[in-house]
């Protein structure tokens, strides 16, 4: 169990807190999705959990133990981060990139061992990108890159997976492919996954648990089908929506007049 407890954050030399006593739990084998408007503090929250920024108050606990004071290597063995797809300065092969996930298991004065190579190959297989292994990472599509970064996080072999808007640059098909893959991997391996998304529909489709954040505070926490409601979305985004039902799953439809294309909320 990953527990975020009273996490409060403020930038140095700033007057106001960006996160106000954020508290929630994320369970194993589940995707916990954090929804919130731009500037609501999602990225700040992730940076605090990842240890890149120092929180003002509060704690991040895993299995009851605090992550405070861990070295980068110790932290990386608990927590793997999947960044948004990006372009590195050199055209590393897909395999080279995935192998980097083993950095926390490789000593400072050594190179990856046979075990590390095996772990990287396994991760590439699980992500379903074995056919890309020798290709340059700079020459594959955005969706493929996202899969590579997921494979790298799997090679890292950490119980917590943090995904920062994994679908933001992807086309419709790739959004579905990636999220479906993440969900099955998380369930199979019992990982604790924390993810941010922009699209409430994707959150409804692919999360087990949703946290809604506005202005740095949690406004709802629970089953996505319940908390991603018309009322909460109105409060969060200031947009009126209808929630349609299909196969027991909600589907968010903004109030748009069909004839005029105008927002009618």
């Amino acid at each position: 169990m990953l527990r975020i407890e009273n996490l409060t954050f403020r930038h140095a030399h700033h007057e106001a807190d960006i996160l106000h006593s954020v508290t929630f739990d994320a369970g194993p084998g589940k995707i916990t999705t954090i929804l919130g408007p731009n500037g609501s503090g999602k990225t700040t929250l992730f940076r605090c959990i990842a240890g890149l920024w120092k929180m003002k108050e509060g704690a991040v606990l895993f299995e009851g133990r605090t992550l405070r004071g861990l070295s980068p290597a110790e932290r990386a063995r608990l927590l793997a981060i999947v960044p948004q797809e990006h372009e590195p300065p050199f055209p590393y092969s897909v395999f080279d990139i995935v192998l980097m996930g083993r950095a926390t298991h490789v000593g400072i004065f050594s190179v990856p061992s046979r075990r590390d190579y095996a772990a990287a190959y396994d991760a590439i297989g699980i992500a379903g990108i074995s056919h890309l292994a020798e290709r340059p990472y700079t020459r594959i599509s955005g969706g493929e890159r996202q899969l590579v970064l997921i494979a790298r996080a799997l090679a890292q072999d950490s119980p917590i997976l943090i995904l920062d808007e994994p679908t933001s640059h992807l086309d419709f098909r790739n959004q579905i492919v990636i999220l479906e893959k993440v969900r099955s991997i998380v369930a199979e391996r019992g990982l604790t996954a924390l993810m941010t998304l922009h699209d409430p529909n994707l959150a409804l489709l692919f999360s087990d648990h949703a946290i809604l954040i506005k202005n740095g505070s949690v406004i709802a926490d629970g089953n996505p089908q319940e908390v991603i409601s018309a009322q909460n979305l109105l409060e969060m985004y200031g947009i009126s929506v209808d929630v349609l039902r299909n196969n027991g799953m909600g589907f968010i439809c903004p109030k748009i007049d069909r004839a005029t294309g105008r927002y009618t909320g």
């Binding site: 590195p88 980097m100 004065f109 190179v111």
Partner: protein, 335 residues
């Protein structure tokens, strides 16, 4: 894959081939047999023969010169690879970042005014100072971007070169001559003592780089990402910069400022062998040694004079840089 292996083996043995050929070339004409006999005498295989000028030419002039060129080539290329990797910038090298100019200032200070302080020590101190200043200037918030790093390197170079000019202006003419000649970059002063200094100093600098070469891959993904992958970025960066600067400072102290090698060789090797630092670093060391031996052999043999080798590398390097800019386009300059 297999072709890559052959090419790697070829690059790895190339310094020995280049060095071997270089021993047979020079202003003092020697038959190949004389060269071989002198070598055999030099390493003690043949004994009891009287001292000969041939032996002195081969064993005391050409061989140390080839070895020194190789060591300096190793240091400059390996530092280039390291700096390009950890600064995630394919267009930097020790020369562009001002390390060479800083180290040269340290050397000139020692030669001109502080004969009691070892040249190598002052070279290292000022080399580190130059790169740290360039880095701090370029680092505004979080990540450092490409162009500002190059610009601050140029600023540091200009500053340290100006300080160097003041020293040239102030020292006595005898010392001035040696400083000026040495600044142009040359292996003409090579002897066994310099080879010994270079072997120890450059060896010390290269060892951590070789051991930590795989981490350069991770460092090149950027500070936040490397941290997330479990790297202690600030500690590793200090080790990388210190080790690379040590190699460059020693190289500058024995051979003056030789530019462009640290930029060109890593690029050529990356094109041939790929960007993975696990093989890129050692192959760049070998390629750098070969390049330097060839450049120095050209410097000794192209004309009747011993041209400073720094001039040769600059003549090759400047057009190469233009080629990189055109080829790389936004890939090299973007971000």
């Amino acid at each position: 894959m297999r072709v890559k292996t052959y090419i790697s083996v070829f690059i790895a043995i190339s310094p020995f081939a280049a060095g071997w050929v270089a021993l047979f070339l020079g202003a003092y004409e020697l038959a190949p047999m004389q060269v071989l006999r002198s070598l055999a005498e030099g390493i003690g295989l043949l004994t009891g023969l009287p001292d000969s000028p041939e032996r002195a030419v081969v064993f005391d002039i050409r061989l140390p010169r080839v070895l020194l060129a190789a060591l300096v080539g190793v240091a400059l290329s390996a530092s280039g690879v390291t700096l390009q990797g950890i600064f995630r910038n394919p267009l930097v090298d020790p020369y562009i970042l001002g390390i060479s100019a800083g180290a040269a200032l340290g050397c000139a200070l020692s030669v001109g005014f502080m004969p009691d302080v070892p040249v190598q020590f002052l070279a290292f101190v000022f080399g580190v100072l130059a790169v740290m200043l360039a880095y701090t200037m370029a680092k505004t918030q979080g990540e450092i971007s490409r162009l500002p790093l190059i610009l601050s390197g140029i600023i540091m170079s200009a500053f340290f070169t100006a300080m160097l000019s003041i020293i040239k202006f102030l020292v006595d003419p005898m010392k001035l001559q040696s400083i000026v000649f040495w600044l142009m970059g040359s292996f003409a002063l090579a002897d066994w003592k310099l080879v010994g200094i270079a072997a120890i100093g450059i060896g010390l600098g290269m060892l951590p780089l070789l051991l930590m070469r795989w981490r350069m891959n991770v460092m090149s993904m950027g500070e936040d990402e490397a941290k997330g992958l479990g790297i202690n970025v600030s500690r590793d960066r200090i080790i990388f910069i210190a080790a690379a600067t040590l190699g460059v400072s020693i190289a500058v102290s024995v051979s003056g400022i030789i530019g462009w090698v640290g930029l060109m060789v890593p690029h050529l090797i990356r094109m041939i062998a790929g960007p993975d630092h696990k093989s890129l670093l050692p192959l760049s060391m070998a390629g750098g040694a070969t390049f330097m031996i060839i450049a120095d052999t050209m410097a000794r043999n192209l004309t009747g004079y011993d041209i400073p080798v720094g001039i040769i590398t600059a003549i090759i390097g400047a057009p190469f840089f233009v080629y990189l800019m055109r080829k790389g386009g936004t890939e090299s300059w973007g971000k």
